[in-house]
């Protein structure tokens, strides 16, 4: 986490323990107090105190219980000062007694506690909140990311982000958004929205100007969600997908910061522990949902010894299924590329032409880049070079532009070499 101390290993370990315990504390407090801001303030104060004391005094035997006790005492003090009605104070006092050990009320089963964190995730990701509010609220409330860090990624000032978070919490209270995990049909309808928030959070870790730590937060949340919803294959699929993408974080750029395609990455730089973790999660997982399918595709890339040794026919089959579930132009584009590698560039160009026929990919530079790549492998180097240059004029980021221009030069060289024979 960017604004937390990251000095000694003891500090780092203390911070990791505290941050892991945090969602449970804030989730339980929200349930008992019903006041998001107060719950969050108290949990934040407890977290700050832990980060200050634990590196010096050592992490307590029961970190969750320690945090819960501090946070709950703060809440009782505040409510007393505000002379809140006796009922709420009594509830909190009873809650305090039962949470003295383990951070878990002794009388309650473990899954009630698990429910608390799940409740918090589903409430933060409620569709009645704007997508941006969902991402920001998830980062702030569940991951305890400082508001300033969230503001930076959304390109707004800290005070603007504070106002947005306040407005989102006011909507939760004012509109009656329940603090509850939906059941039955509603659960199936709402889960994709929760996963979309996590996905957006993950990609925010990679976009230009993004916060790399957000990708780690997304992985942490996906792990938590998988622990809480072990029977949802799409949750496992999303986590595996994150791990495969994240495993390439150190290989994505060359020394000058240029983006490298999969084919050009040094595969020894991939995080093989993360890949093994992803494969473990993916084992036995079907290919029924969009995230599971994308994870299976990413797994084929992650386990290939080289770009040319990739099992492209398997990837092409996954894209066929994905295109049936999500017939979007971008999926069709990737499907065309996969078929191009599996069954020859002519097949790819044919599918690409069909994907672009609706005009939906007209302003999409990656479609031009894909056509350039397929054309190059089809042997028309002069045309490929001009297509790569066309794609380069349309991309927004400088590293992408440079990578495309390099490809164009390579194709020019090949064209010249062919011509001289």
């Amino acid at each position: 986490m960017t604004s937390r101390p990251d000095g000694s290993p003891a500090e780092a370990a203390a911070a990791a323990t505290a941050v892991d315990a945090y969602p449970r504390i804030v989730a339980a407090l929200i349930r008992v107090i019903g006041d998001w801001t107060l719950a969050e303030d108290c949990a934040q104060e407890a977290l700050a105190l832990a980060l200050q004391r634990w590196p010096v005094n050592g992490v307590p035997d029961n970190p969750g219980g320690w945090l819960m006790t501090v946070a709950r005492n703060r809440a009782i003090d505040t409510l007393r000062r505000a002379s809140v009605e006796r009922r709420k104070l009594r509830e909190l006092a009873v809650f305090a007694l039962t949470t003295e050990d383990g951070g878990a009320p002794a009388s309650q089963a473990e899954d009630t506690i698990v429910d608390d964190r799940l409740r918090l995730i589903f409430t933060c990701c409620h569709p009645a909140l704007s997508m941006e509010a969902r991402v920001a609220l998830t980062l702030r409330t569940i991951c305890a990311v400082p508001t300033a860090d969230i503001a930076r990624v959304f390109l707004v000032s800290e005070s603007t982000m504070t106002r947005r978070l306040t407005r989102a919490k006011a909507k939760i209270a004012g509109a009656g958004i329940p603090y509850r995990v939906p059941t039955g049909r509603a659960l199936a309808e709402r889960l994709p929205g929760v996963l979309a928030v996590l996905y957006l959070l993950f990609t925010r870790g990679y976009t230009a100007g993004g916060e790399p730590a957000f990708a780690e937060e997304a992985i942490r949340l996906a792990r938590l969600l998988r622990l809480l919803m072990p029977r949802e294959p799409e949750v496992a699929g999303l986590l595996a997908l994150f791990l495969f993408h994240h495993s390439r974080r150190d290989a994505r750029r060359d020394a000058e910061g240029n983006l490298l395609s999969l084919a050009k990455q040094d595969r020894s730089l991939w995080d093989h522990a993360a890949i093994a973790d992803g494969l473990d999660i993916l084992a036995g997982l079907g290919q029924d949902g969009p995230y599971a399918l994308q994870a299976h595709i990413a797994a084929r890339h992650a386990t290939a010894e080289s770009a040319s040794g990739t099992d492209w026919p398997a990837i092409a089959r996954c894209y066929d299924r994905l295109a049936r579930l999500q017939p979007t132009p971008v999926v069709e584009l990737n499907r065309a590329v996969a078929h191009g590698y599996a069954y020859g560039p002519a097949t790819g160009l044919d599918l690409l032409a069909r994907a672009r026929s609706g005009g939906a990919l007209d302003d999409y530079p990656l479609a031009v880049a894909a056509e350039a790549d397929l054309t190059a492998r089809d042997g028309d180097h002069a045309r490929a070079a001009s297509l790569f240059r066309r794609a380069a004029t349309a991309v927004h980021s400088e590293p992408e532009r440079r990578a495309l221009l390099d490809r164009a030069d390579e194709e020019d060289d090949k064209h010249a070499a062919n011509g001289s024979h």
């Binding site: 409620h126 009645a128 004012g174 509109a175 009656g176 958004i177 329940p178 509850r180 939906p182 509603a186």
Partner: protein
């Protein structure tokens, strides 16, 4: 919790015309469960009159206060446990398919 549910038209209604719920069944069911306290359909906006007072002067004009494609054609006053229940009540209304519904809680001046 009380919600005002505004029933509105929409320029892009659902193209799926199968199994559109029956409004009488919807009213009967939600009345019976105590989730619909009252509700009315409104006469067309051509019958609307807008009233303002500015500097002590009464200004009366023809038509609704905002000329838009989507107009409010009715309302239902709901009593629901929370927003999720109100959303479930709203989704079963025929105008969720043919138009759109807006759920608005009432202001709480006690807070």
């Amino acid at each position: 919790m009380k919600y005002m549910m505004f029933v509105c038209t929409d320029t892009e209604p659902d193209t799926d015309k199968e199994n559109v719920p029956d409004i009488d069944v919807w009213v009967e069911e939600n009345d019976a469960k105590g989730r619909r306290l009252q509700g009315m359909a409104l006469a067309p906006t051509s019958t609307a009159t807008t009233v303002r007072v500015r500097n002590g002067e009464l200004l009366v004009s023809d038509g609704p206060f905002a000329e838009t494609q989507e107009v409010i054609v009715g309302f239902d006053l709901l009593e629901c446990a929370d927003l999720d229940e109100a959303i479930e009540v709203a989704r079963a209304h025929p105008m969720a398919r043919e138009g759109r519904l807006e759920l608005r809680p009432f202001a709480d001046f006690e807070q």
